[in-house]
């Protein structure tokens, strides 16, 4: 009986911890068959990231700007999921 309660308490505790520290980031998925290079500005630093075909990367803990392969830009607040189709972004 007690071990059950201990287990429940343990599980609840870890669940709370996990949710507390789950950071909200944006995920970018490349749906194309070729790799794309994105320019990402996060925390005031401009970076180029390469996303392989059908790869999903997680970026943007706290807001960022990205430039898509087709030249379109987008601002993300974190928490979005972006899909790249034919070099263009679909933001959800």
């Amino acid at each position: 009986m007690s071990s059950k309660i201990i287990k429940t308490v343990f599980i609840a505790g870890s669940a709370i911890m996990v949710t507390a520290f789950a950071a909200s980031a944006a995920s970018i998925e490349n749906k194309d068959s070729s790799a794309h290079t994105l320019s990402v500005t996060e925390d005031g630093v401009k970076n180029e990231i390469i996303i392989g075909a059908n790869e999903i990367v997680t970026i943007c803990q706290s807001g960022c700007f990205i430039t898509m392969p087709n030249g379109d830009r987008a601002a993300l607040s974190g928490g979005e999921s972006v899909q790249i189709v034919d070099g263009a972004a679909i933001i959800n």
Binding site: M1, S2, S3, I5, I6, K7, V9, F10, I11, G13, S14, A15, M17, V18, F21, A22, A23, T41, D43, G44, V45, K46, Q61, G63, F65, N70, G71, D72, R73, A74, A75, L76, S77, A88, A89, I90, I91
Partner: protein
């Protein structure tokens, strides 16, 4: 940079002029972006101007952060339009090549407009992106400037001898006059115009506080009363009482201060400067009261049995006094600084004040270092005072001496900073220490059960005493975790870390730890563990639901039921494990790689276990026996209790549990008495005298079997006359019973019946018989017989059965 800014302004102006008529992304957005750009430019100037003022820099930092958020929001608002435009452009299609026919003008116009809008949005987003880089640079500049200010303040050296000049006295005099003037004028004003309000408000607050005091006394006096006659209260009791002793009166005074301040400012009695001074006085007083109550609670100079820390009687009072004094000095320093900043700073006053604080704290630290706070009994009579552990003593000494020396050598800013840090850090560490002591006290064996919370648990839940005790362990652990989770970041904050840094550190600690090329994440491991545990729980519930609700109604035999639930359990564990492993961030392909590499080792090392596990699966599937069957295996006979992962548990009839590895059950012969049917045969052997009528005995045995209620009529019982034995005609009665579990009882009953009926019928069950032939050499037979008769009264069997009645 300037050139860039100008360029942006020009571009923005052109936008406003050209695209004023645009529909979706209009003037408003352009203007907003322009405003943001201008604001950032202003902030950049302000940051440069505010390089001397830490407070202003902090404010600017906050404002810039807010602006950065606004900037992002603006960008996020603009972004979704681009995919829409792209979609529409795709729908319209590319410009037709020459000779493919003309497009309608509306299409051309729309395309033109869309392309222009797309360009505009991209340009705006580009500007925002540049500005986000700029804000980050500004934030960096601010922290750099603050760091510089801080280092300057710490490393700046003042001339102390110059501070003690006539200027000091005139400055002090001026300050006091200025302060009294301010207070006087404020008092005059208040008295003349708002005296009624003020008196009423203050009276109300005092009355309210008194009322609260009386009420609280009535309710809580038992909680905070430390009975001097009580003998040896437990640590938890001491701690709870000490907490209430500290918290309740402190909270009441704080409430009084807060109410007074609120009422006075609500009534408009407080002027700006007076309000600031008063609030600082209140805060300082509140801190002093808290520390005073806390030290009294911890050191309890007069109530030895209520003391929370094991220091001796003679050290408790000085310790308490020193700590309170230290806090009084530090808060006084804060108060004087606040007053100084309101009525105008004077360098000599600042220097002397900081010097005084640093030296006072330093001396107090050294005094504490030289206390001998512990008692040790050498024997029953003689008692020795023991000093602090050497490290603590010298640490305190060095800190105190360092403070005094640095202050005297002119590093006022540094010594004041260190003095404050020592006091505040000391307070936090002391509180954390108490918290951890509490946790330890709660986790001690049967300590939690004694508390009121534990008692409540014991009464209101189904927990047993040991369960509540284990709960105490968890509570203790949780308290420790809480103390560390609050205390460590607080310490880090006080030592100059930024909240954002701490947050980032914690998040990165929980999301990504790099060890070489391997990256681990505590959060995902935790998620994995949680998922696995949830999966196990779900499996358990599903199993009990399946067994209780579905299988019990299907009239399956218990063995099959247990097989099915066990199999379901295995599948559940496997699924939960897969989920857990995947959620923990371990890719299954990696796992396969590892498994492949290790399979040889595992193959050898875990050979037995794997073979037992597989055997267990085969047993569950094939079911040569099931739970409840009576089996003979490994030289034992017993009832199968459960088929487990590795071994089968068999309970022998003398209630021993036999744990037989599953592979053994597969590889060697197992006799199952109850396979398919529980039908069993019992056989009872009996021998009768050669004088008996064999046919009559046969019939009688059959009759006896048929008379027994448990013996089946079909298959019929039969009698096997199998041997002419040495002493008897040997028969065996074989009878079938429906449940082999009763065989022992049935056999016994049959034997009783046979004995009884044979006796009634006069059928004799003979003892073992031997014919003994004497070969006499030399002496006469009668002589030998005579000697033997004299030596012992021997019955000489002569082939005739002895009569039992003789």
């Amino acid at each position: 940079m300037h050139l860039f800014r100008r360029l942006i302004s020009v571009v923005l102006l052109v936008f406003v002029a050209t695209f004023a008529t645009a529909q979706e992304v209009g003037e408003e957005d352009v203007k907003a972006v322009e405003t943001i750009t201008q604001k950032i430019e202003q902030y950049a100037k302000q940051v440069e101007a505010a390089r001397d003022s830490d407070q202003r820099l902090v404010e600017l930092g906050v404002e810039i952060e807010a602006l950065e958020k606004e900037l992002f929001n603006r960008g996020v608002k603009l972004s979704p339009r681009l995919p829409q435009i792209k979609l529409r452009l795709d729908q319209i299609g590319p410009v037709p090549e020459e000779g493919q026919g003309e497009e309608p003008k509306s299409v051309v116009d729309e395309r033109q407009k869309l392309v222009e809008e797309r360009g505009r949005i991209n340009q705006l987003l580009g500007i925002l992106e540049e500005q986000s880089i700029r804000t980050n640079q500004l934030t960096d500049t601010i922290s750099e400037a603050r760091r510089q200010l801080f280092t300057d303040a710490l490393s700046r050296r003042y001339d102390i001898t110059e501070a003690f000049s006539t200027e000091l006295f005139t400055d002090v005099g001026d300050s006091i006059t200025s302060l009294t003037n301010r207070i006087h004028s404020w008092w005059q004003f208040t008295w003349r115009f708002k005296s009624q309000n003020a008196l009423l408000g203050l009276g109300g607050v005092i009355a309210l506080t008194l009322l609260a005091l009386l009420g609280l006394r009535k309710i809580f006096s038992g909680w905070i009363y430390r009975d001097p006659n009580m003998v040896d209260p437990s640590y938890l009791t001491r701690l709870t009482t000490a907490s209430w002793y500290t918290i309740l009166p402190t909270a009441l005074t704080w409430l009084f201060f807060l109410l007074t301040y609120l009422v006075m400012s609500f009534l408009g009695v407080l002027r700006d400067d007076i309000g600031q001074i008063l609030s600082t006085i209140f805060v300082c007083a509140a801190i002093i009261i808290l520390v005073w109550r806390l030290t009294e609670a911890i050191f309890a100079p007069k109530l030895k049995q209520w003391r929370l820390i094991d220091v001796s009687d003679h050290a408790a009072r000085p310790l308490k006094t020193f700590v309170v004094l230290m806090v009084v000095v530090s808060t006084a320093d804060v108060l004087v600084t606040q007053i100084n900043s309101i009525i105008g700073t004077s360098v000599p006053v600042t220097i002397v004040k900081s010097l005084f604080t640093a030296i006072a704290v330093g001396l107090l630290l050294i005094s504490i270092a030289f206390l001998k706070p512990f008692d040790r009994y050498l024997d029953d009579q003689s008692l020795v005072k023991v000093a602090w552990p050497r490290t603590i003593k010298w640490l305190l000494c060095f800190a105190g001496a360092g403070l005094i020396i640095s202050a005297l050598s002119g590093y006022i800013g540094f010594s004041r900073f260190v003095a404050q840090q020592i006091v505040v850090t000391g307070a936090v560490i002391a509180t954390m220490y108490l918290g951890i002591r509490t946790a330890r006290a709660i986790s001690e064996e049967s300590a939690f059960v004694e508390t009121s919370l534990g008692k409540k648990f014991l009464h209101n839940s189904r927990l047993t005493e040991s369960g509540v005790d284990q709960l105490g362990l968890i509570v203790g652990f949780a308290v420790t975790a809480l103390v560390l989770a609050v205390g460590l970041p607080l310490l880090a904050l006080m030592w100059g870390f930024q909240w954002l840094d701490i947050e980032r550190f914690v998040i990165s600690a929980f999301t990504e730890i790099q060890i070489g090329s391997i990256s681990l994440s505590i959060s995902s491991i935790l998620i994995g563990v949680v998922l696995f545990s949830l999966g196990l729980l779900l499996t358990r519930y599903f199993k009990s639901w399946l067994d209780g609700n579905i299988l019990s109604r299907s009239r399956m035999d218990p063995g099959a039921r247990s097989s099915i639930t066990t199999a379901v359990g295995y599948i559940g564990v496997a699924i939960a494990g897969l989920f857990g492993v995947t959620a923990a961030g371990i890719e299954l392909s990696q796992l396969a790689l590892i498994a492949g590499a290790l399979s040889l080792g595992i193959g050898f090392g875990l050979q037995n276990i794997v073979s037992n596990f597989v055997s267990g699966l085969i047993l569950l599937a094939e079911r040569p026996f099931k739970a409840g069957d009576i089996v003979e295996a490994g030289g034992f006979t017993g009832v199968v209790k459960v088929v487990k992962v590795r071994a089968t548990e068999i309970e022998t009839f003398d209630k021993k549990t036999l744990v037989l590895p599953n592979s053994e059950m597969i590889n060697s012969a197992v006799i199952n008495w109850m396979h398919k049917t529980a039908l069993g045969r019992v056989s009872v052997a009996v021998g009768v005298s050669y004088d008996s009528d064999a046919q009559a005995v046969h019939d009688l045995l059959i009759e006896i079997a048929k008379d027994h209620p448990r013996v089946l009529a079909n298959p019929e019982p039969f009698v096997d006359f199998y041997n002419f034995g040495d002493s008897a005609l040997e028969f065996e009665l074989r009878a079938y019973i429906a449940d082999v579990g009763f065989s022992v009882g049935v056999k016994t009953e049959l034997r009783i019946a046979i004995h009884q009926r044979f006796k009634e019928q006069g059928i004799e069950i003979p003892f073992p018989q031997r014919d003994v032939n004497l070969k006499v050499v030399g002496d006469s037979v009668s002589q030998v017989l005579g000697n033997a008769a004299q030596a012992a009264p021997t019955v000489i069997k002569t082939g005739k059965t002895p009569n039992l009645d003789d």
